[in-house]
């Protein structure tokens, strides 16, 4: 099974360790992973700001890099959702459709495709899960608190396989952290307030680490935590699942 590794731009530039953890985790689980070089971005920052019409350059690049693979996996729910919902390229619609249907966020790839039921990871800490909205409400990584429907959570299931890891319970299980792409700068006041409130929920419930499936949200939370000089750290779920396997 040939898996194309999709490393979104800000992970590539700021959080290479998340890309590395994702790659080695997939390799340890027996996937044949390729990382198409020259990839940049899914186009979401522009599209969410109202500039979807500018994204065909990004779309074309994306199709060129990822066509013909069995699966495409990326450690970011938000970017994966964007591709799933919006990737179209004139003249290459078949390849684009294949990609839209075959792209997975890491946690859902592990649970739904690889059907992972145990991991040799160890992480003896108290961890809070930040459910990023696009992964949760968009990709369905976990049940949404608004719906009258049976609960489930793919990230939680995976984290429960990690030895020594203790999940903390939150007061608000799936409230948005306020990152929201360019929202984080155009609506700075509300964005930061939302982030602070999310952090307080984790801290009040004893989390030492905040983890999640989207580096963008974590980057925002980390920025606030560091400004607060807090000891609480953020880690992408791949880093925890990949720890000392």
């Amino acid at each position: 099974m040939k898996v194309g590794l999709f490393i979104p731009c800000y992970i590539d530039q700021f959080y290479p360790q998340v890309g590395i953890a994702t790659l080695s985790l997939l390799e340890k689980l027996g996937c044949d992973v390729v990382y198409p070089q020259g990839q940049t971005c899914c186009g979401q920052p522009m599209a969410n700001s109202g500039f979807e019409h500018l994204t065909h350059g990004c779309n074309e690049l994306f199709v060129d890099h990822f066509e013909g693979l069995d699966y495409i996996v990326g450690p970011s729910g938000s970017c994966v959702l964007h591709i799933k919902d919006h990737l179209h390229v004139e003249g290459k619609e078949q390849a684009a459709t294949h990609i839209r249907q075959r792209i997975y966020e890491l946690a859902e790839f592990l649970t739904d495709v690889l059907k992972v039921d145990h991991l040799k990871a160890k992480f003896p800490h108290k961890v809070g899960i930040h459910q990023s909205c696009h992964g949760q409400r968009g990709l369905g990584l976990a049940q949404m608190s608004e719906l009258v429907a049976a609960p489930f959570s793919k990230p939680q299931r995976l984290l429960q396989m990690v030895e020594g890891l203790e999940l903390v319970e939150l007061k608000r299980t799936d409230e948005c952290c306020g990152f929201g792409g360019t929202f984080c700068v155009f609506e700075e006041a509300v964005s930061v307030k939302m982030g602070k409130d999310r952090i307080a929920d984790h801290v009040n419930n004893g989390a030492e680490y905040i983890t999640g499936n989207d580096v963008s949200c974590l980057m925002h939370l980390e920025g606030i935590l560091r400004r607060q000089k807090s000891d609480v750290k953020v880690l992408h779920i791949a880093e925890i699942l990949n720890s000392s396997i």
Partner: protein, 458 residues
Amino acid sequence: MEHQHKEHSLLAEEFNANEPRVNWHDETLWWVRQKRDKMAWTIPEWEDLREAASRIKHNVLGNLHDYLLEFEKNAQANGAVVHWAADAAEHNKIVLQLLQEQGVKRMVKSKSMLTEECHLNPYLAEHGIEVIDTDLGERIVQLAKEPPSHIVLPCIHKKKEEIGELFHEHLGTPAGNADPKFLTAAARQHLRAEFIQSRVAITGVNFAVAETGEMVVCTNEGNADMGAHLADVHIACMGIEKIIPQRKHLGVFLRLLARSATGQPITTYSSHFRAPKKGQQLHIVLVDNGRSRQLGREDFRNSLKCIRCGACMNTCPVYRRSGGHSYHNAIAGPIGAILAPNLDMKEYADLPFASTLCGSCSNVCPVKIDIHQQLYKWRQVITREGYTKKTKAAGMHAMNIVLSKPGLYKTAGGIGRWVMRTFPAVVNNGLNPWFRQREMPEPPKESFADWYKKNRKQ
């Protein structure tokens, strides 16, 4: 971009100057959201009920023309007079004329977001007619000379102490008394006097049944009944999308409305108005005001399914932390942000951006409007029509140039870790809004792509 109002982000920033108050506002509304959750969970078929409501409204929107005519015919047969208003101005004129015919200078009105949308109160005031809002929350904001900040809970932004002060000033209650029970009783006394003298009563409409020509008005205070029954003339104002086909469909909507709105099983009063009493007049004003235009916008048509329950506001993490007034529109929150651009795209160009697109609104919506997707689509339309700030557009074009060329991206990234530089730069206000209350990520020694080259065989 010049606006009559400050933009949402600025108003929100002002609201956030008082953090304890933001916390209070957030907690108060979150509590309402939790009550809604509890109530929803008492109904195992909740999600089916939402689906049913959504489909009934789908049918209504597809056949609106016929249902409206059916409603008109039946209402007329019941003895009501039906008026059609193309826009807010026409609506206001019709109401004014009816009031002038009666020669009244003062009258009562129960809650109606439509009359807010049409700015009826100030219009009538200009013509020397005073409107007394009889919904307690609306009366409070009216006394404070403020617009409502929420469609169901109009004075949710006010603390009880502030209401006590207002009542002391306007209704003569003792200074310093902020006991909700006492204040409610005082308001009731005050409003009774108004009800009794008022010869005309205006009400809104929650549901208008095409099959029977009747209207249903939902209140918790019974103020719609009180006004309409005591007055000689009842004027019911409704948007044309309030139609439902048959009486039996009320069961679906009444079960959803109050549960979604306040977490009550049903509103205290669901008052049916069908025919005028002997000697009484019943006027129904059907208002379009942009609704047909919205109906013609395929991507945004579903917004007309809205039953004004306010659940999308209570759940919205941005609304809870920016307050209803930051939306500078009669209808705030997520639903306001998808309705307002239809009325004036330039004036409300900021609203679809006042969201993280988290999607919680669409999930609570009892008629399953795809609110967050419409927010995304409005962003595209507003940008295409040229209502985005020039600086933002320039930033986006620059970002696009870098992102669509791998070579450029590599250099730009290597030099400056461009993401963080590009994002804040698009705001272009001399400050870096990321950094104000957040640290920048520490730039790593190498990018993932560089690491990969060194560590994996090509």
